[in-house]
């Protein structure tokens, strides 16, 4: 028996769709989200597709390995049918190709590994729901977050978000700007962050006139470049095994969420991949040897996305990352990065604030 209050409450609750071929898992999921969510479960991907067509879901969570189609395939369909539904992929078997495909092709927001910790699960789902709300503009009407108060939500620190640079034409105001205004976007190519390659030449030659390309080899280089010119796209060689590499990217994305990172890596350890995705929101992955056509396509995509983001600042929330683990932040590398970032952020922010109009996102 459902009374109208409950109905209302039901309507107000965020709706989740779980898809997995193992029924006991679905039971566990359903039970985990028993209170405060409207949970739909199915073992059949086709049924999920039908559901997506007819109802609105905030979040869809799918297993990768399923009989009729893979999770990535299903989420791709979901992206088509319900682009505002946040997509999460459950994976119990590290299938790197699938993961990369999920990121590159399907824009999966988060990855979850089996087995998971319920608290972690809830946090991820809640963040996803919040993102869904923000993206769809469905802010809490009564100021109250639609998310159930489980005490696990932590308010995000939005104040530290560094303002986005704006690419705009030269106006009279900026005539005395010391930094050249750009009509073209700038792509930062970061090489040898532990891995050597001739990536810079490749990017430069493939882009040609479409964008300016700057080279950076060290962390200092990156910050210096960012001080001079607003960067929106970064092509970066990453050694997924290197903790420092991963940490840097994670911290960068955290502080500069509008930078779309295209990661070039050769070997992929799936654990690290998932970590990178969840915590650094890598835009695209490219495996070496890098195919120039693919690289170009991804860079142009990133630039496009940035423009999209400028037009629709709410999309920045999609770039929100998971918290970086404490242990990492307190490590030696982490500490040095924190310092560097702190210094850089100030100067970058100030130079941008002075010279450009900035767009503060909430």
């Amino acid at each position: 028996m459902v009374n109208s209050a409950i109905d209302k409450a039901v309507e107000k609750k965020p709706s989740l769709l779980f898809v997995d071929d193992e029924p006991s898992l679905l039971t566990a999921l359903r039970m985990a989200f028993r209170a405060g969510y409207h949970v739909t479960v199915t073992t059949d991907a086709y049924e999920a597709i039908e559901l997506l067509k007819t109802r609105k879901f905030h979040v869809i969570v799918s297993d990768q390995r399923m009989p009729s189609m893979t999770g990535v395939e299903l989420l791709a369909k979901a992206k088509e049918l319900a682009p505002e539904t946040i997509r999460v992929l459950l994976t119990g078997y590290s299938d790197n190709d699938a993961i990369i495909e999920a990121i590159n092709g399907v824009e999966v927001h988060r990855f979850l590994k089996k087995p998971w910790d319920n608290a972690m699960l809830r946090k991820t789902i809640n963040e996803a729901i919040e993102l869904a709300y923000r993206l769809s503009g469905e802010a809490a009407q009564d100021g109250v977050s639609p998310l159930p108060a489980t005490g696990e939500n932590e308010p995000r620190k939005s104040a530290e978000i560094i303002p986005m640079p704006v690419h705009h034409r030269n106006t009279a105001e900026e005539k005395n700007a010391t930094v050249q205004s750009q009509e073209k976007p700038t792509v930062l190519v970061v090489e040898s962050m532990s891995v050597k390659s001739d990536l810079f030449d490749q990017v430069k030659s493939s882009l040609g006139d479409k964008a300016d390309v700057i080279h950076a080899r060290t962390v200092a280089d990156v910050f210096n470049s960012m001080k001079r010119i607003p960067i929106s796209t970064m092509v970066c060689t990453i050694d997924t095994q290197s903790e420092a590499d991963r940490l840097f990217i994670q911290m960068l994305k955290k502080d500069y969420p509008y930078i779309f990172v295209i990661a070039v890596c050769d070997s992929t350890d799936s654990n690290h991949l998932i970590e990178l995705i969840n915590q650094a929101k890598i835009f695209r992955f490219i495996r070496t040897p890098v195919k120039t056509t693919v690289l170009l396509h991804y860079i142009l995509s990133a630039i496009e996305q940035f423009e999209e983001l400028r037009k629709n600042p709410l999309l920045i929330h999609a770039q929100h990352t998971e918290e970086i683990s404490e242990s990492l932040l307190t490590s030696t590398v982490g500490k040095s990065f924190l310092d560097q970032f702190a210094n850089a952020n100030k100067s970058i922010a100030s130079s941008f604030a002075k010279l450009f109009g900035f767009f503060r996102s909430n």
């Binding site: 566990a28 209170a35 089996k114």
Partner: protein, 614 residues
């Protein structure tokens, strides 16, 4: 390039050596006595001819030869013989020989010229000699007849004059004839003077005989001249140095021949040494080559051994890699298969915690309420009213909680989660058992088993890639088979995985059949209805490292190792495929494996998953 150059060089050297040897040989055997003997024979003949010629001259002179043909015929013979010698000299390009031959020719011509003179003179001489007595007689007769006539009517003085004249003539004639016999100088002088005088006194002679006497004088003069010359002519003829020149030529020929023999001898010597050297060279070369061959062979043997060892090692590594691959395969499968039930268990139990907590809270609240109820109501109305409100609140709370719990179906929920967890634990346990069964770590390598068991174990291990595939099992009645179970499981996993991956999603079907091919052989077939293998690569699939998957995914070791495993069991594995229809792999295994299997198990032990417990 270098090789062809070497071959060219060697050929050239060989050619030069052979050429040298041939040259030496021909030069050391060139000299034949034949030509020499021919030439010397010719010379001998010529000497003979010359001697005969001399004799014929004398014979003509003494009228033993009636005609001069024998004196004329040698010319053509000499000419012919000289021509032969000339040809010989020309062929040898010997100018000294030609010179000598010309010399001989000159002498012969000289001799011929002298002989011609002789012939001419001799003829006239003989004629004159024969005529002189006749002429003399005629003159004498004439003069006698004149004397006779004169006796009758002329003066005695005339007659005595005639007689005188006649005796003059006679004297002259006899002198001439004497001179003919012994041609000494005094008689010649005498005759000359006499004839001269006769000529001067010719007018003294009567007319009738004057012509005859004149004629006679001519003849006497002729005799005088020619007899005078005859001796020197004959001497001249004899002295013509034909023989010496022939001898000179003979000597020259002999010299040359000797020289040639000497050079030939030298050449023979050189040839001998040359042959010896070449033989030495050849032997040396042969020895060198043999030595090189021996060392090369040794080196090659060592190399071959090394390579064979490497090959064996590589094969072992290959096998190992394949096993690793399978291990990876298995681990991948296990991981995924285990993670899901684990997730369900973990989540379920965590949720259970929460639910129990909630239940606990409810129980506590219920307890609290009960406690509140138990406490007797206070006397105070105010207190009682307060108590009633509180109780009401508490009741509401409890009822709310209760409703919540009911709506949540908490007990059912907890039961469900717990039961699911237990089931999942069993499932995980089953997977672990399958792992053990698959790898046979806890048991000996070769043992008896039902093939269907292997198939079932493998299917569990491979569950994660069989999710999208329908598996049909058509098991027949089979006997226990003795085999290396872990290896057979490997093979089955490989084939089943290949089949699964070849399939279209959703409609994919794998059919696994077992049957007894014969009393001693089991047949297992794994068919899929996938894409099939194109004819061009059907042979290649058995090659190690051959794969149709993209680079980086799978090492494609599977089929070559499978084949190896099956054949070491003494079985065989075949493949039938049709593009668009599907592929069937058929394995035939003997109930008892071949000796190879037991032999290789000494090595296999170390290449297995883990060293088996003893």
């Amino acid at each position: 390039m270098k090789k062809t150059l070497q071959i060219w060089l060697v050929s050239v050297v060989l050619l030069v050596l052979t050429g040298g040897w041939v040259y030496l040989y021909t030069n050391s055997h060139a000299v034949t006595a034949e030509k020499q003997n021919e030439a010397l024979a010719i010379l001998k003949d010529m000497k003979q001819m010359d001697a005969n010629w001399n004799v014929d001259v004398l014979r003509s002179q003494t009228e033993l030869n009636l005609d001069y043909d024998p004196l004329a015929s040698p010319l053509s013979d000499f000419s012919a013989k000289l021509a032969t010698l000339d040809a010989e000299a020309k062929s040898l390009n010997d100018s000294s020989m030609e010179k000598v031959i010309n010399d001989i020719r000159t002498s012969i011509n000289e001799k011929a010229g002298l002989i011609d003179q002789f012939k001419a003179q001799n003829a006239l001489l003989k004629n004159s000699l024969r005529y002189v007595p006749t002429a003399h007689r005629e003159i004498r007769e004439q003069m006698h007849s004149m004397q006779e006539k004169g006796k009758s009517d002329t003066a005695h003085r005339e007659i005595s004059a005639l007689v005188n004249l006649e005796s003059n003539v006679s004297a002259l004639v006899s002198d001439t004839l004497r001179y003919n016999t012994v041609p000494d100088v005094e008689t010649a002088e005498l005759l000359k003077a006499g004839i001269k005088k006769m000529r001067e006194d010719l007018s003294l002679y009567p007319d009738k005989v004057r012509d005859q006497i004149d004629l006679l004088m001519k003849h006497l003069e002729l005799v005088l001249n020619f007899r005078n010359q005859q001796f020197s002519l004959l001497q001249g003829i004899n002295n013509v140095p034909v023989v010496s020149k022939l001898d000179r030529l003979g000597d020259l020929l002999n010299e040359k021949f000797d020289a040639e023999l000497t050079t030939q001898f030298i050449y023979q010597r050189i040839l001998l040494t040359y042959s010896a050297c070449v033989l030495l060279l050849v032997f040396g070369a042969a020895a060198l080559i043999a030595y090189r061959n021996a060392t090369e062979r040794k080196r090659l043997t060592v190399l071959i051994d090394k390579k064979t060892l490497e090959l064996k090692e590589n094969e072992a590594q290959l096998m190992h890699a394949q096993k690793m691959n399978t291990l990876g395969e298995m681990v991948a499968g296990i991981t995924h298969e285990v993670n899901t039930p684990l997730a369900a268990i973990k989540s379920g139990l965590q949720t259970c915690y929460e639910l129990v907590d909630t239940t606990n809270t409810y129980i506590n609240e219920s307890n609290a309420f009960s406690s509140m109820l138990v406490v007797p109501p206070p006397a105070d109305e105010e207190a009682r009213k307060l108590r009633k409100t509180r109780l009401g609140h508490k009741l509401m709370q409890v009822v709310d909680m209760h409703n919540e719990l009911v709506s949540m179906e908490i007990v059912g929920g907890i039961n469900q989660l717990l039961s699911d967890s237990l089931k999942n634990i069993d499932y995980i346990s089953q997977i672990v058992t399958s792992m053990l069964n698959f790898s046979r770590l806890d048991r000996s390598k070769i043992s008896k088993i039902k093939i269907e068991e292997c198939i079932n174990t493998t299917l569990i291990i491979g569950k994660h890639f069989l999710k999208t595939v329908k598996v049909n099992k058509k098991f027949g009645e089979t006997t226990l088979i003795n085999c290396d179970i872990a290896q057979i499981n490997q093979v089955l996993l490989n084939l089943i995985k290949n089949g699964a991956q070849a399939m279209p999603v959703d409609t994919g079907e794998i059919t696994i059949e077992t049957s007894m091919l014969s009393a001693e052989e089991i047949c297992i077939s794994i068919s899929d209805n996938g894409a099939g293998i194109p004819a061009e690569i059907q042979e290649k699939i058995w090659e190690p490292f051959f794969t149709t998957k993209k680079a980086g995914s799978g090492t494609g070791l599977g089929l070559s190792t499978c084949k190896k495993i099956i054949t070491s069991h003494g079985g065989r594995i075949d493949m039938k495929s049709e593009v668009g229809k599907g592929t069937t792999f058929s394995i035939v295994l003997p109930l008892n494996p071949s000796g190879d299997l037991y032999a290789t198990h000494g090595e296999a032990r170390n290449n297995g998953f883990v060293t088996a417990p003893a």
